[in-house]
Symmetry: C2
Subunit: 488 residues, 2 copies
């Protein structure tokens, strides 16, 4: 595998595309904006799914599956919602093809036009709340805590693998509650769940906050988001959890009888993370030599390579060590392919971001040692073979911790408190990263800042301390700082 | 939960719909032919997925994800394939809606017409082989052993939940090989994997066979299928594995260099099972009181119900027993909801097909006993509480075994050897089930039998013994029997 990765400093965007390609994560397909997720990229998604799914179930959620297609009329029912999605949706208008009477190939059969067009779901609030109307009669039917793993389509004009694609994979939770308080608590619970997942599994530190009104999900009263910072100083919205109030219940007429026998509209939340997380994972940790994966989400955590060519004794030992490590719950691969050179293999696993590489060579082995290489720091050292069952799990934990610490340190360095607009512009243009600044709370100011700097309010951090100050743009009074950044 | 299930003998088709509804498995959606898979039905699908996915991975397969949309022109490339799918596909023609200038609602924006229409995948051979062309250069790149879990759409005119829906969930394997022999071996390996899954997990006995040429998958040289028999005497095709020869490699120009440096077309297989399996599961075991699930696929294997109302001591014991059984890997639920009567709960778990119900009452408990009820045989008996950790796992195994045995016995009784066409018609009309009969191998005979009886050749069983005879319809010579039945 040739090292054909563009250095980050030269062209960050190309570096990202190179990693996606060279680490065999995904590629463009014949369909504009749709990617093929290749086996190695999909294995990372499976790791993400597995852990999130367990967390959802532990917090009382169950999975279900709702239709891919949404009748066009459903989208119109919630006014803000339709505004957010109508401009970028795939529309099914016919249900049959036929042979082209004028020659080769197929044409759409004009006799097979649908009475009502169907939209390929961009998100499923409407079709789900249409079902909930029949499911919810009384307070006894609540709460409903449902999640689905699904594909969705948003017709994006500018796409980039994982970060923005016309079709993507995600999970979407849709819950129904009898009170406002309970729905808010649910949205906040999932917000915390996402943040904990990002930090503990992805080693990707995130800021927990709420969106400004203009950045809220179409139809939400409050959008909670987790915001991460990428290595080029741009922010990535990595997950959102929405308190939807009674908007969808009203749009789809979903009422319940309280225990006082009164009719009320139901309260809702929805929340999702997507294959975009893989983009965040890549951009948080990887370097100019390839992908770097945190051990907890690495499909292969340890690769064992016999050196030089697999000889019988080395091979046996490699497999024995593999069994020992596997029995500790570690995901191990032995690469005993005799057709490839060791140097090629080393470069390949570096490119793939395998956290730990173990070389087993005849010389070290005489001393009872193996050679261990860390992907994160590039350190190499010898390890007593007999202690590997103890030390390798510890090393994986260390790597996981080191990646999170490094990312936190970077974010800290790249978060700047700013109190005047000249500095604001200079920091955004030259340094990048998060800017912590006062904002007067108006949409006009938000728009003006965006127009002049391309920076948006990423969130109003939940842990922002009360602090009297003046808006960095308008000078009007403000009582806390919000986070600005350019974003993906 | 009221017992509102239509008896099978009265109306089998309505009985099936009643079970699907009353056991909360699925329901129709607002989109014609698309169902909502409700949490309990989806939990069964998750059990199926988990086990199959493990089997695929153990046999060297990896998962990936290919686009939902297929360019229209791709479908035309394989002549038989397009014939099979063009008449029933959802076609995306536009990528934007806009406000209706003449009033309320949304219309399709005529300016957002796609240059080439996109088909929502009915199956993914074409889009996948278009990718494989870039992935395969030499014999070193082979085999490719990929599976994907996905939704697909086939515009069916007559739909029935799980058995036939416009959108359904499935897995589709697509493999690429350097030789014919290897591809055939792969198709056969998966065929056996499916049969073993059906028998050991679903307790659904299946006949392994190959399809007659006219019943093959569109584009296949050989279709292997597993065929099960439902309680109404109709057959269900439960899974298929196809040897595709070089058809798709030729259609998409996928060649590889052999180790002799010669260019050859690649050999292919594809194979899939779908949410249809849930329909088979329902129709194999369930009775007039509701769903019956084999323990290995039951989301809840044991339910523990304190009797009469949960009292503190009973409740504590219920949870203790639940922990003990859970530690043995059993999926247990304690139902301590004080709002519902015990009788209601019993009926509910019966409807849901939970294999074992444990009642914990004060009186039995004085004797150190619990009340155990089997869903399959409806037997009730007392069990020494202290032995439950030993006896309950055994009981679950017994139930699993009993369901398979019962289904096998039924199939045996419902398989009739027939040697003349009058008897054939009489058996199909009155008894139903499989008919084992000689066939002359011609499409004409197959068609004629279908026209006159609605029975089709389900498969040519792999284990059919050589036997000289005469075609049941034409009287022409034949050397083995094939299986006929009416089918779903």
């Amino acid at each position: 595998m040739a090292k054909e990765i563009t250095p980050r400093i030269e062209n960050y965007s190309q570096w990202y595309l190179d990693i996606v390609k060279k680490a065999n994560l995904a590629e463009n397909s014949a369909v504009r904006g749709s990617m093929v997720i290749k086996p190695y990229g999909y294995a990372i998604w499976e790791m993400i799914q597995q852990d999130l799914d367990r967390r959802f179930k532990e917090t009382g959620h169950v999975n279900a599956y709702f239709p891919l297609f949404i009748p066009k009329s459903f989208l119109s029912k919630e006014a803000e919602h339709v505004e957010g999605f109508a401009k970028e949706c795939a529309v099914v208008t016919h249900h049959r093809l036929k042979a082209n009477p004028d020659g080769y190939g197929l044409i759409v059969d004009p006799d097979a036009r649908l009475e009502e067009e169907l939209i390929v779901r961009p998100t499923s609030e409407t079709i789900i709340w249409n079902s909930y109307r029949d499911w919810i009669k009384s307070y006894r039917d609540l709460p409903i805590l449902i999640n689905q793993w699904a594909n969705v389509v948003r017709w994006e004009m500018r796409t980039r693998p994982f970060l923005r694609t016309s079709e993507f994979l995600w999970q979407e939770g849709h819950t129904a509650h009898s009170t406002r308080e309970e729905a808010v608590a649910e949205a906040e619970k999932i917000h915390s769940l996402y943040a904990d997942f990002a930090e503990s599994m992805m080693a990707m530190p995130v800021i927990k906050g709420v969106k400004s009104p203009s950045e809220r999900f179409a139809g939400a009263l409050e959008t909670y988001s987790i915001e991460a910072l990428m290595q080029d100083g741009k922010a990535l919205q990595a997950g959102t959890s929405h308190f939807l109030g009674q908007n969808f219940a009203k749009a789809f007429d979903v009422k319940y009888l309280t225990d006082q026998n009164k009719e009320e509209f139901v309260w809702a939340t929805s929340w999702g993370v997507s294959t975009r997380l893989i983009g965040g994972l890549i951009m948080t940790h990887s370097d100019d030599d390839g992908l770097v994966l945190p051990p907890k989400l690495a499909p292969i955590q340890v690769v064992i390579v016999p050196i030089p060519k697999p000889e019988e004794a080395l091979l046996e030992l490699a497999h024995k060590l593999s069994r020992i490590l596997s029995s500790k719950g570690i995901r191990v691969k032995v690469d005993d392919d005799p057709k490839q050179r060791v140097g090629f293999k080393f470069a390949e696993y570096e490119m793939m971001g395998v956290p730990v590489r173990i070389g087993i060579g005849a010389r070290d082995l005489e001393k009872g040692e193996i050679e261990v290489a860390r992907r994160d720091t590039k350190e190499k050292f010898n390890m007593i073979l007999d202690k590997a069952d103890m030390l390798i799990p510890e090393l994986l934990d260390q790597i996981q911790g080191n990646l999170l610490m490094t990312a936190k340190k970077y974010r800290q360095e790249m978060t700047t408190r700013v109190d005047d607009f000249e500095t604001f512009k200079e920091v955004i243009d030259n340094k990048g990263g998060f800017i912590s600044a006062h904002w007067d709370g108006s949409i006009e100011t938000e728009e003006a800042i965006k127009d002049q700097t391309k920076a948006t309010i990423r969130c109003i951090p939940l842990d922002a301390e009360a602090e009297s100050g003046h808006c960095v743009y308008s000078g009007k009074p403000s009582n806390k700082r919000v986070l600005f950044a350019k974003a993906y």
